[in-house]
């Protein structure tokens, strides 16, 4: 099984870009429907069920409506940035998906094609870089609108994104420790080799990553930049029609990408649990499925049905997290600004730093003791489990959501 020739690679790359882009936009359209219907079920309503069977054509109706609506431009807005901002917020959300592997390599008559748009060697760093770009779209939208509510939304979004990027980055460091690499294909491979998903041996990193992802995607309980009850709709108050739609698509594309990342980094990506047949990785120019006890690479046998099955597994894991995003949104109320800052800097950051130290120390210790394989994973799971329980039951006692009010000494009789 050989990789494809450079020419075929270019052709397949173009095809993959087209297919993945279309699939994401389609998924985003149906996520808006899922959001509305799930929220309706949670609130004992029915949700949109009029357009097509079960409301399945609702996204198309919404799309037509948004295209046909009037585009408004505030008289005092900065024209250039006002138009640029929606594009700036949608592009990072879509581009991040490029480094996420979504299925096992597919064998074709021209060679084996990787099911990833761009297997860039800097994987996680690329994601972190683009995640920080997303804030420009929101902030420029808020600033260029020349509207106080939009501006406050922009300020909040930048403060929040910067605060939680630190915790996001730190929660990824244990993953890099375990995988030994930053490419997402290798992270999936290492989870297959370890025999368990990173969510187990790195449970606290997983929790921290989920929390900071909620902040990075501006979803409840972190939707202060939008905050419709205080700021109209925050940074996109002045936007209408398709430009507003772009922010909407960007928000859902962010959720999709964040869900795909959680699935890839912590739930084994496209690999199917308890099955060795889908283990595939490029090792020195050959596709291998593992190493024999002697250290010899075992060639892998890719097949189209394996690609299909692993893609199914990836979709299931990703949609689970999408559902969690929606589910949490309709469960929790919004934080106050000071609570967000308190959680970001005084809880998440110290916890993430401590946890990085803990994981690094444990891995060093296990390596020194020459513990490998499943025992290594089990030991790390025990240590992380203890850390997680400490976080949930000891640290999270009247402290996580304290805010500035907590630092004021209590009055007598309070």
């Amino acid at each position: 099984m050989q990789p494809v020739s450079p020419f075929a690679f270019a052709v397949f790359a173009v095809v993959k870009v087209g297919v993945v882009f279309t699939a994401i936009l389609l998924a985003v359209a149906y996520m808006t429907l899922a959001e509305r219907r799930v929220s309706a079920f949670i609130q004992d309503r029915l949700g949109p069920n009029r357009v097509g069977p079960f409301g399945l054509l609702q996204p198309i109706a919404d799309g037509i409506k948004n295209v046909l609506k009037e585009e408004t431009m505030p008289a005092t807005a900065n024209r250039f940035f006002f138009v640029l901002a929606p594009a700036l917020s949608i592009i990072p959300a879509l581009v991040t998906f490029a480094v996420v592997p979504f299925a096992a390599p597919l064998p074709t008559p021209w060679g084996v094609v990787d099911m990833i748009v761009a297997d860039v060697p800097v994987g996680i760093l690329f994601i972190l870089a683009l995640a920080s770009l997303g804030v420009y779209g929101l902030f420029l939208a808020g600033w260029s609108s020349n509207n106080k509510y939009a501006f406050l939304g922009g300020v909040r979004s930048s403060a929040q994104m910067i605060s939680y990027e630190v915790a996001l980055g730190l929660s990824l460091i244990p993953v890099i420790f375990l995988a030994g690499n930053v490419t997402l294909t290798e992270i999936v491979w290492q989870q297959q080799q370890l025999g368990m998903w990173f969510a187990l041996p790195l449970s606290l990193a997983f929790i921290l990553f989920v929390i900071s992802s909620f902040a990075e995607t501006n979803r409840l309980p972190f939707d202060l930049p939008e905050a419709e009850s205080e700021l109209v709709t925050g940074y996109h108050t002045e936007y209408s029609a398709m430009k507003f739609s772009m922010f909407f698509i960007a928000e859902y594309a962010h959720i999709l990408t964040a869900s795909a990342l959680m699935a890839t980094l912590f739930l084994g990506g496209w690999s199917i649990p308890f099955w060795d047949g889908d283990h595939m990785f490029w090792y020195e120019g050959a596709l291998i499925s593992g190493f024999s006890p002697m250290g010899e690479p075992i060639p892998a046998s890719p097949a189209w049905w394996k690609t299909l099955l692993t893609f199914g597994a990836f979709c299931v894991k990703t949609s689970f997290f999408v559902l969690v995003f929606i589910w949490v949104r309709w469960t929790l109320p919004r934080f106050r600004y000071d609570q967000v800052m308190h959680l970001g800097w005084k809880v998440m950051l110290p916890t993430a730093l401590t946890y990085v130290m803990l994981v690094a120390g444990t891995i060093l210790l296990l390596d020194q003791m020459r513990v490998g394989g499943i025992l290594f994973g089990a030991a790390l799971t025990a240590v992380s489990g203890a850390a997680t329980l400490t976080f949930v039951f000891v640290v999270d006692r009247d402290r996580i959501i304290g805010g500035s009010a907590r630092s004021v000494p209590r009055l007598k009789g309070d």
């Binding site: 949670i42 004992d44 469960t331 976080f391 949930v392 999270d396």
Partner: protein, 166 residues
């Protein structure tokens, strides 16, 4: 679905949590998500059950030969608190009184049902019906023919099996 009041005690300081409380909250919302207690009535397809004592659009009862039962006594326009009934009475060769004009302005009507209560010949009734949307305002003034055309059941002002409302 009866509304209930649940008193939530404030937790003691130092005993609150966020993550555990979130899990609890998510359990609650999950229960609703998989088994929504469906209170929505999908109106055009599903119809509400209206009480037989519902007072809605009027109905004029008629004799078997198609004449209105109304004898133009003038009691209903007199008793009507909203003053929405216009009645011009006439008398035929036999000396029977009949309405020449009988109009009810459904916009002014407050659906108190007093016209039905006061009618000595049980001609005018309020009806078990509520869908009377129209495209123009003048369509809301129902004339005699229109009142006789209404085919919905007329309101029971009391339960015939329990006339004293016991």
């Amino acid at each position: 679905m009866a509304a209930t009041v649940k008193v939530v005690r404030r937790p003691e300081a130092g005993k609150t949590s966020y993550l555990r409380a979130t899990m609890k909250g998510m359990a609650v919302t999950f229960k609703h998500m998989i088994r929504p207690s469906n209170v929505t009535l999908e109106y055009p397809e599903e119809r509400p059950e209206i009480s037989s004592r519902w007072r809605g659009t009027h109905v004029m009862e008629q004799h078997a030969d198609g004449r209105p039962k109304c004898v133009a006594c003038g009691l209903c326009p007199t008793v009507c608190p909203a003053n929405c009934i216009r009645l011009v009475g006439g008398e035929d060769d036999m000396g029977n009184r009949y309405p020449i004009v009988y109009e009810i302005d459904e916009f002014r009507c407050i659906f108190c049902g007093m016209c039905q209560e006061v009618c000595p010949v049980e001609a005018i009734h309020v009806g078990v019906h509520f869908e009377n949307a129209e495209y123009t305002r003048d369509r809301f003034i129902y004339d005699l023919d229109r009142l006789m055309e209404q085919d919905h059941p007329s309101t029971l002002l009391w339960d015939p099996s329990d006339p004293a409302s016991e």
